[in-house]
Assembly symmetry: C2
Homo-oligomer: 196 residues x 2
Amino acid sequence: MAWNTAETKRRLKKSAVAEFAAHGLGGTTMERIARRAGINKERLYTYFGDKSQLFATVLADELNKVAAAVPLNDLDGPEAVAAYAAAVYDYHAEHPELTRLLLWEGLLDLPEVPDEASRTDYYRTKVAAFTRAQQANLISNDMPGADLAFLILALAGWWYAVPQMARMMHADDPATPDTARAALMRAARKLATPAV
Amino acid sequence: MAWNTAETKRRLKKSAVAEFAAHGLGGTTMERIARRAGINKERLYTYFGDKSQLFATVLADELNKVAAAVPLNDLDGPEAVAAYAAAVYDYHAEHPELTRLLLWEGLLDLPEVPDEASRTDYYRTKVAAFTRAQQANLISNDMPGADLAFLILALAGWWYAVPQMARMMHADDPATPDTARAALMRAARKLATPAV
DNA sequence: GTGGATCCCAACCCAAACGTTGGAGTTGGA
DNA sequence: TCCAACTCCAACGTTTGGGTTGGGATCCAC
């Protein structure tokens, strides 16, 4: 069978994403990444260096995707903000691995993050969209655009960050993904609505 | 020197909290917990069982504290909700280990959490406070009380869950703890304010 | 004070997992 | 055709770290 470097790398990386997302840096073994990919462990070392380098590579690759994932058109009012929040929520639901990588990265508490510059740029464009809408008086400007954008993401992401808390708080009246999504949209809309 | 079981246990547990908070379950070694406490590793096993039991014990203990930490008086209006959000935020700031344990627990994705029953009870009282205030028309009732309470906690906790995101989103206009706190309070107040 | 229970530690065992090596198969160019 | 470079794997060396054991010190009940 013909060699296929690119394909081998791709499969290893895909496998690494899954394992790291599921178990974190400490809980993942190189052995398992390789086995899941059906490739020999040694390839990991020659292609990606040691375990923490591999982790950094995976984070950089995948989290760039997260930052860029949900398109943000011009925000023409609170309703658009609610729709954006819902889209982010849906994205989390469809890509739980990436959400988890993001959280794991947060827990690592690095002074700087892999690929920080390009990710910062992505976020900058998101924040700019909020700021523009604020300047046009289309959405509430009672707090800086960066804070508003960040808090919208908080509303969408918290469900996935602490699912156990969501479960316990909704013990008496279980939240479905749909009710959660509806509450999130209401909240986002409200945050974005200018005071009267 | 006289034996002191209680003190030994206390020191081990304190050390375990610090290590688990910093490195998670997978990243922590029993060796390091013991060394940090200045106690022999074997004590961990006789007192607390194996590593995951120790982790569960620590979680149960500390997260019960978190749950009970921030008192929630009767919510007599949106301002009280904002104050509660700020108190939670301040608590996170003062006890970063506990926040991190909570997040790590979330990533473990257990079907059930240590001490689930008592923690559920505790959250129930928080949610009840929101629900009561809603029924008295003191705060917004456009979404279930559990959702509102949960989202308030999201606003307060997200800064600590993904500090790297907070940093990148505020690259152009760095957020200080104070500005973050102010934005949080505004947002909480807004969510809790009834529609006109 | 004696004996049994408890506390604690140093040293140990061993499985798991990190990372490497030697070699066999494959390719492509001189 | 030959050989240098590349791809991949099985097997290995070594370290880390979870968990245990044996024994000495201390306490306490009698």
